[in-house]
Subunit: 474 residues, 2 copies
């Protein structure tokens, strides 16, 4: 068990890091002790902000000697409270934000090395000046950092084509719980020297040590995109359409989002300036986007494929964006769903995945199970169908106090959803991680074999349990 930092440890850390790197000031620390959504609140004995890998290593060595707990933090934009310390005030917040250099961009190899504190948007900008693109983006790109994105194996809207963070990490540098530096930045395409530490640190949520830098794959900047808003009968037909597009034009297919009519309807009701791309209502919609170099070829490919799908009766209607502004308008409908839903009242949100094939059945069956157990409850599924990952939101019955219903039934509703997911071999966290939010439900629903293996890894690498205790499996 980690111990409260002693005055002499705090003095040593202060001496090491100086004024810029060490703070116990409540006001300075406050923004970093609550997660961005305001759901989790913590306290910290100090906030440590080392500026180099060597400083991080020195911090960890001091804390390892003193058995003091460290909570790594990047942009504080996580979704599961993984970077928020506990309420004891005994943990040390380890901010990586001062490590914000892009160390190297190798244009020929398509690889850049960025430190953990580099903000995603800054990284996008830095590589774009070389005609390159880092093909991962998400809503929090103005605050999310490279270290946090690696440590949560972040996803986003381009996973279909480019994979999650894991697929884009060519190498990592990390400080291990004993304070030693693991330099795995060399981008080796083949390396069979035993267990893959790069993949182990991707998604480890700062529980095995702290990522200090990453070598990241880049692609050529896309200069053209084509977007379509497509009316379909059901998730089954959407999946059939996806398979078709994937086989024919998969290498340019970057987005394939599934949206039920109820979500579009909420957006149109609540978000000013929005309008439906198609004249008629359809049960479901697909937002599909191609990206590449050749605008005309992309347009021809999308139009040709969708015309054939119309002829085959696979889709009901299609609106093609005529220009960039219309593309943006289509995406705005998708990106406004959460905001529209909030305007409709509280909801329980679940970030889940199942094998892609089983997704239509889950979307059809889960509302039936919910309705039987919680009469009137409404379920909406939308999001990344091609990744087998939808945001599955459950709204209270109409005409009652939603907040009270959630307070009374929320935990049981979520348990029903997650149990169904586990039955299908799915994941109770597709994108966001476990953090503190899903720690207990993971321990309850995951298989004992898997949990034991996770605990074995944790214990093997961090036997004293100083890294991010209370998170994931801590």
């Amino acid at each position: 068990m980690p111990r409260r930092p002693s005055p002499s440890l705090l003095r040593a850390l202060s001496d090491l890091l100086g004024v810029k790197g060490f703070s116990t000031d409540a006001d300075a620390m406050a923004p970093w002790l609550t997660d961005w959504r305001g759901k989790y609140h913590g306290r910290a004995a100090a906030m440590l902000s080392p500026a180099s890998t060597e400083e991080v290593a020195a911090v960890v060595r001091l804390c390892a000697e003193a058995d003091a707990a460290l909570v790594p933090q990047g942009g504080n934009s996580g979704m599961v409270g993984g970077a928020t310390p506990d309420a004891s005030g005994d943990q040390l917040l380890l901010s990586l934000r001062r490590m914000n250099r892009v160390r190297h961009i190798d244009v020929a190899a398509g690889i850049a090395i960025a430190e953990a504190g580099v903000i995603l948007q800054s990284f996008h900008d830095a590589v774009l000046t070389h005609g390159l693109r880092f093909p991962l983006t998400l809503g929090g790109k103005g605050s999310a950092t490279i270290g946090g994105l690696v440590s949560t194996n972040a996803g986003g809207t381009q996973v279909l084509r480019h994979g999650t963070m894991r697929a884009l990490v060519a190498g990592i540098e990390a400080v291990l719980p004993d304070g030693s530096i693991f330099d795995g930045l060399a981008p080796l395409k083949k390396d069979n020297r035993g267990y893959d530490l790069r993949h182990l640190f991707c998604g480890a949520e700062g529980t095995l040590g702290v990522v200090t830098a990453a070598a990241l794959h880049l692609v050529r900047a896309a200069t053209a995109r084509r977007t379509a808003w497509i009316g379909v009968e059901s998730p089954e037909t959407a999946l059939a359409l996806l398979r078709r597009l994937d086989a024919a034009i998969g290498r340019t297919l970057e987005g394939f989002e599934l949206i039920p009519h109820a979500c579009l309807d909420a957006v149109l009701r609540h978000i000013p300036g929005t309008r439906a791309p198609l004249a008629d209502a359809h049960p479901w919609y697909v937002l599909a986007e191609l990206a590449g170099d050749d605008d005309t070829a992309l347009g021809d490919a999308l139009e040709g494929q969708l015309a054939a799908a119309l002829d085959a009766g696979l889709v009901r209607d299609v609106a093609l964006a005529k220009n960039d502004r219309e593309s943006d308008d289509f995406w705005r409908l998708r990106d406004s769903i959460s905001e529209a839903e909030r305007a409709d009242g509280p909801a329980l949100q679940h970030d889940i995945s199942v094998p892609v094939d089983l997704m239509p059945a889950f979307i059809a069956d889960n509302p039936v199970r919910l309705g039987a157990a919680f009469p009137g409850a409404r379920a909406l599924s939308f999001g990344h169908l091609g990744d087998g990952n939808v945001h599955h939101h459950v709204q209270p019955p109409h005409g009652i106090d939603g907040a009270a219903w959630i307070a009374a039934h929320g935990a049981d509703v979520s348990r029903l959803v997650y149990t169904h997911v586990v039955e299908l071999g799915g994941s109770i966290s597709a994108e966001h991680g476990i953090g503190q939010m899903k720690r207990d439900i993971l321990a309850e629903l995951d298989s004992p074999a898997r949990l034991a293996a996770l605990r074995g890894v944790k214990h093997g690498l961090d036997p004293a349990g100083i890294f991010n205790p209370g998170k994931l499996i801590g």
Copy 2:
């Protein structure tokens, strides 16, 4: 420390597995106690051949209770003695070869589930009947098994386009060292429930438990291929050509092998029926292959790209295979290098990787270092340039007793090669793993931080050390 199996443990295992699954017969065990190249010889207290995951789990539970060591084995075609027991006779050989069912082929999803003992060639055949291809192949495909390929993160000749085994594994089932079954077969594209056990078991060489089945990604069977034999000035120009082809036609580029003239020369001297594809000799050659659906388009693409490269002075001459037979002839030159080299006398073989960018410098510099330390020693590099992975062979000086020279200097020569690789951030095992062959040199040359992390993982998952002791880091 594992203990010698007691008579009562052996009896319990015999009762569990029956006649087909349990043997202590020396003749029956003999083929499996020596690796296929005859370099490593071991003994075993018994050979266990369970036929189902449940039987594997029961075996492991009995052995875990008794602290008995298990050595998992698939096709016994590994390169580093990873599946050969030690000489004590106290270890139990755990053969997965009876688990040889392809459980399921999902054509729409492009995923098949194969048990650990399925032989690669059989798996190729099974999916091909559905018009699908498993895009990993290698010389040992007639004996190598799916479990062994996962556990060694096998590579082969199609890594450039499709990645190593790791990239093709969508899910795994494994029995953990406590005998529990980890069912991670559901092919989830997104799953952020902590440490990725799938990636951990890929390349773990049977030291963390035993893989019993894998869900594997398939692609559409390629119906067309186009092959070229290209004369180039140097590894630098070969790399420049690779970058060019990759940017222009990368999605069809499946092979890019680098071959020095000395290797071609040895093949032509020793292998009957071979002939040089080009009239003139060139310092280096590239064997490039495109694969896809559209034969004409592939041919046009390859011809157009290489004509432009000729005009740009990047390549010296090109021979295009006119048909499948000529493609096979080109590949035969490449695949005969090892045989021709053996006919030339003994050599020290090194399976190494460095970042792709540094490969030309390594190929140029390493012979200079070798020549300075071991006058007359000759180094040849050939293989998968696009993967940053070459087979780097060192031959004794001309006109001396080669075997005696290797006996006297072999270990020091290899240490010089591996030290150079490590200096460049490379790997002393690109494809073959560590096994028993490279265990000591790994312990000597790898960074203390990385070694400590590997040992931590091993200890965390297999604290009693019953899985494949003496291998990798054991």
